[in-house]
């Protein structure tokens, strides 16, 4: 049970994932799932829910950190068109593996969050767009949805109220870019996943050009606790402007990689040393990617940075999806960057000139760099070609592609130099 004293909260999304059988409706209900749902459906109205979510300070856990309540309030009413709720379960950002655990261990938490969000937004049809590789998770979700339908938690007249909502799982086909919300919408509509330019924003013209809210799994899974305990309660967890708990997927050179749900604002060093069993080698990391491979790297000087939106931003990066990748002194940063540049070249959807041509170009130069075939002029190319991708394209994939290379060149010029042909020879 989540304590109603905010200072005692140790988990929100992960509160019950360890309980045996939690994926089944029977156990989940015994452990409190859906217990507050009738109150929400019968005693709250749409405005009140959105208000509570606004007060809670919840920010999107998918990467951009956009305030969830605010996003919901942008959805126009009475357009004569349906409003859709799409759960972004594409979880493609390298380093991120948190949504998967919510879905496979506590699917009903996500369903409950979606019912509440759907109710708040006047949704009749909701979808979970799940990463194609998550076959097991899709099966678990589907089984849970089936149970929920049987228990009248989904479908027509949920729990005897006027509210009806249908929920469908759609499996992606393995494209990272389909995690970008407008590409996700295109893909769900049956087209190639190519991001749309904005405006119009999905809240106004999204799925089938109707008002649409796209939220991350973790974002939606936080909603039941917020409504049960109140927005104010949630706001008191974490630090100002970064409220609540956050799951960090920690990987790389730590002794105990894994998912850790901790209050926002916890210093990075505490997360690594107290939760993850410390670094494998050395006292401080050589570099840290704080929010998934698309976010700029931080250096050892930021080992104490609080894991919160503003603080990480001040340090020069982003909290992103909360995927913390730790590199200790043994890391070959050039090889790592080359590998990431392959990822982005492979995943670029190809529409925007800088991203289409830039990602391929960068990968080829990185390959040559690693193989010892580059000279100083090539480093200039790496710098220019990355700099002019970021912030100049339809979606942020190009920014993500630029981030590792710009970080590498900024933080490790000497190491890069050592790879140059003249120095190798």
């Amino acid at each position: 049970m989540i304590p109603s004293d905010p200072s005692k909260v140790t988990a929100i999304c992960f509160d019950r994932i360890h309980l045996p059988g939690q994926a089944t409706l029977e156990v989940a209900r015994k452990n409190g799932a859906y217990s507050y749902l009738p109150t929400v459906l019968n005693e709250m109205n749409r405005e009140q829910i959105i208000e509570q979510v606004k007060i809670s300070g919840l920010r999107g856990r998918g990467g951009a950190g956009f305030p969830t309540g605010l996003k919901w309030s942008f959805v126009p009413r009475n357009t004569g068109k349906p409003t859709y709720l799409l759960c972004n379960a594409d979880e493609g950002e390298p380093g991120t593996f948190k949504d998967r655990d919510i879905m496979r261990f506590d699917p009903h938490l996500l369903i409950e969050g979606m019912i509440m969000a759907g109710f708040a937004l006047g949704v009749h049809d909701a979808y979970i767009y799940i990463r194609g590789e998550f076959l097991h998770e899709a099966n678990v979700m589907n089984a849970a949805i089936k149970e929920a339908y049987a228990a009248n938690l989904l479908g027509e007249h949920i729990l005897g109220t006027d509210f009806s909502m249908h929920l469908t799982v759609h499996r992606g086909a393995g494209a990272y870019v389909c995690g970008e919300e407008t590409a996700l919408i295109e893909s769900l509509e049956g087209r190639p996943g190519r991001p749309r330019f904005k405006p119009p924003f999905p809240a106004v013209e999204g799925f089938y050009r109707c008002p649409t809210v796209v939220n991350n799994v973790e974002t939606l899974a936080t909603i039941p606790a917020i409504l049960e305990h109140g927005g104010q309660w949630h706001k008191q967890i974490g630090v100002p402007n970064s409220a609540g708990m956050k799951i960090f997927s920690v990987s790389g050179h730590v002794n105990k990689p894994g998912n850790y749900e901790v209050p926002m604002g916890m210093p990075l060093r505490v997360l690594v040393e107290e939760y993850c069993g410390g670094l494998q080698h050395g006292d401080v990391p050589k570099a840290v990617i704080p929010g998934g491979s698309s976010t700029p790297w931080l250096g050892p000087e930021h080992y104490d940075v609080p894991l919160a939106y503003d603080e990480i931003h001040k340090a020069g990066s982003m909290l992103g999806s909360g995927a913390v990748i730790i590199m200790d002194e043994t890391a070959d940063v050039v090889a790592l960057t080359r590998r990431l540049s392959h990822f982005y070249a492979h995943e670029s959807c190809g529409q925007c000139t800088p991203c289409r041509e830039g990602t391929g170009w960068l990968e080829r130069v990185m390959l040559r760099l690693e193989a010892g075939g580059c000279n100083a002029r090539d480093i200039e190319v790496l710098q220019d070609a990355s700099e002019h991708m970021a912030g100049r394209t339809i979606c942020a994939l190009a920014d993500g592609a630029a981030a590792p290379i710009l970080s590498l060149l900024r933080m490790f010029p000497d190491e890069v130099n050592s790879y140059l042909a003249e120095n190798k020879a």
């Binding site: 494209a175 870019v177 190639p192 190519r194 330019f197 405006p199 070249a345 492979h346 995943e347 670029s348 959807c349 190809g350 529409q351 925007c352 000139t353 800088p354 289409r356 041509e357 830039g358 990602t359 391929g360 170009w361 080829r364 130069v365 040559r368 002029r377 200039e380 190319v381 220019d384 070609a385 002019h388 912030g391 100049r392 394209t393 339809i394």
Partner: protein
């Protein structure tokens, strides 16, 4: 309206305009590749970046709407670097083959490279390999040059409606492809070459023929359909190299017929020297000899003149002047598709502009294959449907339009009275009947449900009725058009300048023809009948080819065999075989002249190409002939004089020539308020109605003289005779050889089937063995 600042200059534009469009409206130059004013925004090239004060990142101006007090900068150091870098990205895989690329000299990539690019690229990795595509007879591809702007894909989807181009793969493997490994099937394909900002899609027929800087450009009017598009004829010296759409013209596209007809300008079918027939052979001669021979054949003789409507207004007027001066008794005809010569309540021509039609509340197409007839209007209607607006169609064939009219009914031509009667009943039911309607209805016992669609559409405030060839060529056309006029009046569409009455004409200058020839015209059928009966001594064909076009080929063939022929024209074609004298007249590219399109828009061509042979503008030929035939005074000796004479028939023209009417002024169509024709009640003699098909690639002497259009015609051909499968089954027949019986005899021909022909209709192509079937209106079928 929104006020913003572009490079510190205050500008006001409509709300929601994009920054790029705001810049374009105010003459601020922002480079772009993927943006195209006629296509949806794609925002993928990223060349159009600008800076907005207070925004952390540059914005793509093509997809960013303006906002009040926004401060936009289009020229900054950062943007300079961004543009340079976009150019570098685009060029990393682009071949450096400008010297052998037809786009060279007229290429956005080349131009921007000079303006915004670096002098040298830094890319040293392997270049991308690509495969070229088969995009049909008109477009050649060189896909290594593609910059992935997706203009072509959007064009195929949004304009052509075929959607058969797309994007495959991702990242830098992304490629433009024709989704089906087949040709692009569009009547608008030629636009792709103009649309592609680089040399990836090029005009196939003119490829490797010339360089842009060698070409002279001549504004002209296309006469290949009544739409009369503004075109640019590109020539090297006197040779027509290609035809392009006029960027300053009224429409964004031209069709393949109007474009690839350029092949005819240099074909062997051109009449370039006068000729006379001696001992059965046509021999070139000088003008004097030819005119002398013409005089022998025409002077003081009973003559029939059939001319083509597509000459310039001046040329047409000169035919009338010739008639009035020296051939007062001659029978004059021009419409090869009109059987019913009684006056129509509303004569040929549109009362609305195509833009007004696109915007109307309802549009009804009555019996027309618009995609073949008026591809550019069809394109507008396609866009109309894409924007969710209604389109209704009633006719003998579900003509493939690459869009789906929401309401569609297949009928036989003999059903038209019942369709109109059904619509009249519906109006009566809501109290909108009239005594005139009653009189009309009395003659028609049957009702056809398709009439409901017509009546429904007429209830809209603004309804554009497009009356097509199935009605215009009907034996009872005047009664049908009177019926439609009655319907429109009752439904509240009283007569006005743009009252929705649109009778699609056969060719150009419909309003001119009504004004200049209204009082003397006869029907082509009547003229040929008189000739056959021995009432005419000679025939003069002025650009007209009744063998290849129209509904009278059988009679025309008989007449040509028996009556001497003076051929005047720019194309010899199959008529040449019968000509006793040929007088070459200049092509439309070679004259100064005035053209009026179906909307009544007037265009004056004033920068012609020079003639390549001895041909002369038609008006000069006619005036010479007038002189030769004994006129004391030649009615006009200059273009100015001729225009004054034309203004006698059409007083508004005086203002047009004086430059007092704007480019938007439209000549009204003729109306015959007193034409009260009631349905004849005569049933066709045989069970099946014949409807003749119009192919944009084959119709008209010009098109037939173009090898390019002939090739496309073959590629896109349907079987020559088509019926609905049910029609065959009911007769116990199968697809294959059948005997087709009409009033003029029997032929054995292959009969194909197609679901989208109305049951009870025999759909025939105007060519080959089936061609003469167009002469008849009904037929029956039996097995061989």
């Amino acid at each position: 309206m929104t006020t913003l600042y572009i490079d510190d200059k205050e500008v006001t534009v409509p709300a929601n305009t994009s920054i790029l469009e705001a810049c374009r409206m105010h003459g601020v130059d922002v480079p772009y590749f993927c943006y195209h004013p006629e296509l949806k925004v794609a925002a993928n090239c990223r060349m159009c970046l600008v800076e907005v004060e207070g925004w952390p990142k540059p914005a793509a101006s093509c997809c960013t709407p303006v906002a009040e007090d926004m401060r936009v900068r289009t020229q900054t150091e950062t943007l300079k670097k961004d543009r340079k870098m976009v150019m570098e990205y685009l060029l990393i895989h682009h071949p450096l083959d400008c010297p052998v690329c037809d786009q060279g000299g007229d290429c956005k990539l080349q131009d921007y490279s000079v303006e915004h690019g670096a002098s040298q690229g830094r890319y040293v990795e392997p270049k991308r390999r690509t495969e070229d595509k088969n995009l049909g007879p008109f477009i050649t591809t060189c896909m290594t040059r593609c910059i992935h702007c997706t203009r072509c894909v959007r064009f195929a989807e949004e304009v052509a409606g075929t959607g058969d181009m797309g994007v495959l793969n991702r990242g830098d493997h992304m490629r433009i492809d024709s989704i089906v490994e087949d040709t692009l099937r569009s009547e608008l394909a030629g636009n792709l070459a103009e649309l592609c900002p680089v040399g990836a899609l090029l005009d196939k027929p003119s490829n490797d023929v010339s360089r842009p800087w060698e070409l002279e450009r001549h504004h002209s009017t296309c006469i290949q359909c009544p739409h009369g598009c503004d075109v640019i004829i590109e020539s090297r010296g006197d040779e027509v190299i290609r035809i392009k759409h006029d960027p300053e013209g009224a429409e964004a596209w031209i069709c393949d017929r109007g474009r690839y007809v350029y092949d005819a300008f240099r074909s062997d079918d051109r009449l370039l020297v006068p000729a006379v027939r001696k001992q059965g052979e046509l021999l070139a001669c000088d003008w004097n000899e030819a005119l002398t021979r013409a005089r022998e054949l025409l002077k003081d003789k009973k003559v029939g003149i059939i001319f083509s409507p597509s000459w310039s207004l001046e040329g047409l007027t000169s035919i009338r002047l010739l008639h009035d001066a020296v051939m007062n008794e001659a029978k004059v005809a021009f419409d090869l598709h009109r059987r019913d010569m009684r006056p129509f309540a509303f004569e040929e021509g549109l009362s609305m502009s195509t833009a007004e039609i696109e915007a109307a509340d309802e549009v009804v197409i009555l019996g027309s294959d618009l995609r073949q007839r008026l591809p550019i209007l069809m394109q507008r209607l396609r866009r109309r449907v894409a924007n969710g607006k209604a389109l209704t169609r009633i006719g003998a064939m579900n003509y493939r339009t690459n869009t789906s009219p929401g309401k569609d009914a297949l009928i036989r031509p003999r059903d038209w009275p019942a369709v109109i009667a059904r619509a009249m009943e519906q109006l009566k039911d809501v109290g909108k009947g009239s005594p005139a309607m009653e009189a009309w209805l009395e003659r028609v016992p049957a009702r056809h449900e398709a009439g409901k669609l017509l009546a429904d559409a007429l209830m809209a405030e603004r309804c554009a009725v497009l009356v097509g060839e199935e009605i215009r060529a009907h034996e009872d056309a005047a009664a049908l058009i009177h019926g439609i006029d009655l319907l429109m009046r009752s439904a509240g569409h009283g007569e006005a300048g743009d009252d929705g009455r649109n009778l699609i004409p056969e060719g150009m200058n419909a309003q001119v023809l009504s004004a200049v020839f209204g009082d003397i015209r006869t029907g082509v059928g009547e003229l040929l009948q008189a000739a056959e009966a021995g009432e005419l001594d000679a025939l003069m064909l002025v650009g007209s080819d009744p063998l290849g076009d129209g509904l009278f080929s059988m009679q025309a063939r008989r007449v040509l065999r028996q009556v001497p022929l003076v051929q005047v024209g720019a194309i010899g074609g199959q008529i040449a075989e019968f000509a006793d004298v040929q007088l070459p007249a200049a092509a439309y590219s070679e004259i100064e002249g005035t053209f009026v399109n179906m909307e009544g828009r007037v265009r004056i061509a004033d920068k012609p190409l020079r003639s390549i042979g001895e041909e002369r503008p038609l008006w000069k030929v006619m005036m010479r002939l007038t002189q030769e035939l004994g006129a004391d005074d030649v009615p006009a000796v200059s273009l100015d004089e001729l225009r004054q004479k034309a203004a006698v028939f059409m007083p508004e023209l005086a203002d047009v020539f004086a430059g007092k009417k704007g480019a938007e002024w439209r000549m009204p169509t003729a109306r015959n308020r007193n034409a009260r024709c009631l349905p004849s009640g005569v049933e066709p003699a045989m069970a099946l109605d014949i409807v003749s098909r119009f192919s944009m690639y084959r119709e008209g002497a010009w098109a037939r003289a173009s090898g390019l259009l002939r090739e496309a015609g073959q590629l896109f051909a349907l079987p020559d005779v088509l019926v609905h499968p049910h029609t065959l089954r009911q007769l116990g027949l199968e697809e294959g050889e059948c005997v087709i019986r009409t009033a003029s005899g029997e032929i054995t021909h292959h009969v194909g089937t197609r679901e989208d022909v109305a049951e009870g209709v025999l759909f025939v192509a105007k060519r080959g063995g089936a061609g003469d079937l167009s002469t008849e209106t009904s037929a029956s079928l039996r097995g061989v």
